[in-house]
């Protein structure tokens, strides 16, 4: 039994694809996914506006990783200085200025690594099953807009996408999983 129809529309430019997304937004259709061969700002802005999304949560992963890196470096440097303390002429056992270098390096290291993990997590990667409607040309020279809808909405959305500049629209039955949720 079908869960609905996926309309796979193909655009030759990111401008037209962004227009398609804006048209869907105006029509209150938000169950869609856009595909692009590069990070088009126009498409990203249009999808963010349509879904009311803010900036990517990956930045919090980076912040958390960076702070963890600094704390780890403090524990490592100050902790080991006191654990193996050596009093040299009354100088401080833990000398903070040179330790800032270690803190900086570990902040970058852990921030970068956790950023990578956050990127993979929020992008649902690795994912070796193709998303509904994915076409290999969407990674090469075409832009795709895959809309999941009920059968009675198909003709209205098709004409809406054609008006936005879709050069080709295909229909595909959605059986189990449709367009991944973006919320």
């Amino acid at each position: 039994m079908s869960d609905g129809i996926a309309l796979i529309s193909t655009f030759s430019s990111d401008d037209e694809c962004a227009q398609g997304i804006e048209a869907l937004h105006r029509a209150h259709v938000h169950d869609f996914s856009a595909f692009a061969p590069f990070p088009s700002e126009k498409i990203l802005e249009a999808t963010s506006e349509a879904r009311g999304q803010g900036r990517s949560p990956v930045r919090w992963w980076v912040l958390t990783g960076g702070i963890t890196g600094i704390l780890t470096a403090i524990a490592l440097t100050v902790g080991t200085s006191y654990e193996w303390n050596l009093n040299v002429g009354g100088r401080p056992i833990a000398s903070i200025p040179p330790y800032i270098i270690i803190m900086f390096e570990l902040m970058i290291l852990m921030g970068g690594l956790s950023g990578l993990l956050g990127f993979l997590f929020h992008s649902c990667l690795p994912a070796f099953d193709s998303a509904a409607g994915y076409r290999s040309r969407f990674g090469a020279d075409k832009f795709g807009l895959v809309v999941r809808c009920a059968e009675n909405e198909v003709s209205r959305l098709e004409s809406l996408l054609r008006d936005a500049g879709a050069e080709d629209i295909a229909r595909e039955a959605v059986i189990t999983q449709g367009v991944p949720s973006h919320h």
Partner: protein
């Protein structure tokens, strides 16, 4: 023929893909002979290193006071080479410099393999390499703990962080291109690209996260690149040795690193674009811009040399003056003047636009830059140690066969890795070229008169 040139003036997304995919096609006999030659040099270097481990550092020209010489020169040289990759990929990315798109993947790849090569040299330099893990900070029964106030420990953290972040940055940028390659590959290549691309499909959600992580990694890599070579320079500047103890070292080393790195990018990319037939993607316009960076950094290091000499004269410290007199006019003074010729004089030719747009001239100049920057590190490291504060200890270091072969072997190791990567991975970023296709068309139009003349 004219029609073909006309078509290339307006490259499309598909043209970009075709060009890069053609470069990734299985290599011919010449390619594999080249890789085998590089592997041979690597093997030769490993044989000499094995001999050195077995017999000890006595097989080298090392001896008091030259306990730091060619291996540390090689280390600093390769770390320096790595820097242009991050400059081009991260710093120029933050400044939205469009010419970087065609060359940054090559520079970034160079970065990763250069840091890998650099990381070998502290190990090669160790007399007892099997104790290298003593530098790793962990509680142990020997009551040994690294001194976090030592620049050598800072270096350990800086280099390992730099290698990790450079690799992450390179890999993150590669994911969309690997997904693209996956779609047109067959057999084991398809399997490889499928695994490495993590099933990337380029959805808006993925691109949104990708853009954020890439921006933040670039933001992290920018101060990192400045810090790493500063830390490397402090290995020297924190000591009391005349010729090393200088506050100018950090910016001086960073500028030198970018200079040498851009030089090596030119050395690699000029033959590569010809052999891999990617001249339509990496155009003369891109090389021209890269040459301008080389020229700018050459002027900065010329200024640094002048400042360093001025400070020695200004302080009127007799030992510093003596050290620099030996550097300029001593038994190995010819190395200093060769360095000045390679780093300060020859790059001035890049002021001439016709030279910047002539690939043969650029290639030759880039070779001089590489030689000059290697000499700079040798003059600073071995030259300053040779003439320390005790004239009775003076000894001018001359490398023996072991150091020479290991150094040549490191070039073989680097070139072998780079050549293999360039054949099996997208060496030009398809994603970013498509994003800035208007600039690529501009580059092709700018290059058209040179191609026509050629």
């Amino acid at each position: 023929m004219a029609a073909a040139v006309e078509t290339n003036l307006q490259p499309s997304y598909i043209d970009i893909d075709r060009n890069v995919q053609r470069a990734m096609a299985p290599g011919g006999l010449k390619y594999w002979l080249w890789v085998a030659f590089c592997a041979f040099l690597t093997a030769l270097g490993m044989i000499f290193w094995t001999n050195q481990i077995y017999k000890g550092l006595g097989v080298t020209g090392y001896g008091q006071p030259n306990m730091w010489a060619v291996y540390i020169t090689d280390f600093v040289f390769w770390v320096g080479i790595a820097h242009s990759g991050t400059l081009i990929s991260a710093i120029l990315f933050l400044f939205r410099v469009r010419w970087r798109t065609a060359v940054y993947r090559c520079a970034e790849t160079m970065t990763v393999f250069a840091v890998l090569t650099a990381g070998l040299f502290p190990l090669i330099h160790l007399g007892r390499v099997w104790f290298f893990y003593w530098c790793v900070p962990y509680p142990n029964e020997r009551f040994l703990q690294p001194d976090f106030r030592s620049p050598l420990v800072w270096d350990f953290f800086a280099i390992s962080t730099y290698l990790t972040i450079s690799t992450v940055f390179l890999f993150t940028g590669l994911i969309p291109d690997l997904a693209n390659a996956r779609e047109v590959s067959t057999g084991w290549r398809k399997t490889l690209y499928t695994i490495l691309s993590f099933g990337w499909q380029g959805t808006d959600r993925q691109w949104r996260n990708f853009s954020m992580v890439y921006l933040l990694l670039a933001g992290f890599a920018t101060p990192l690149v400045l810090s790493v070579h500063s830390v490397v320079s402090w290995d020297f500047a924190m000591t009391q040795l005349p010729g090393w103890h200088s506050t100018i070292f950090a910016p001086y080393f960073v500028a030198g690193a970018i200079f040498s790195g851009c030089g090596l990018v030119l050395t690699l990319i000029i033959p590569m674009r010809k052999l891999m037939k990617i001249e339509d993607l990496v155009t003369i316009w891109h090389l021209d811009n890269l040459a301008k960076v080389v020229l700018l950094t050459s002027l900065i290091i010329t200024y640094s040399y002048a400042t360093e000499s001025f400070m020695v004269w200004y302080t009127q410290d007799p030992i510093e003056i003596m050290t620099f007199n030996q550097r300029y006019y001593g038994p190995q003074g010819y190395l200093f003047w060769m360095m000045v010729a390679c780093n300060c004089a020859i790059p001035l030719l890049l002021f001439i636009p016709r030279i910047r747009t002539n690939t043969v001239c650029l290639f030759i100049i880039s070779i001089f830059v590489n030689i000059g920057m290697w000499l700079e590190r040798f003059v600073i490291i071995a030259g300053s140690l040779a003439t320390n504060t005790e004239p009775s200890q003076w000894r001018f270091y001359v490398p023996k066969l072991t150091e020479v072969v290991i150094t040549v072997g490191s070039f073989g190791w680097f070139l072998m890795n780079f050549s293999l990567f360039a054949k099996f991975m997208p060496i030009v970023s398809m994603t970013e070229l498509k994003e800035g296709i208007g600039w690529l068309r501009h580059a092709v139009r700018e290059t058209y008169p040179y191609r026509k003349a050629a």
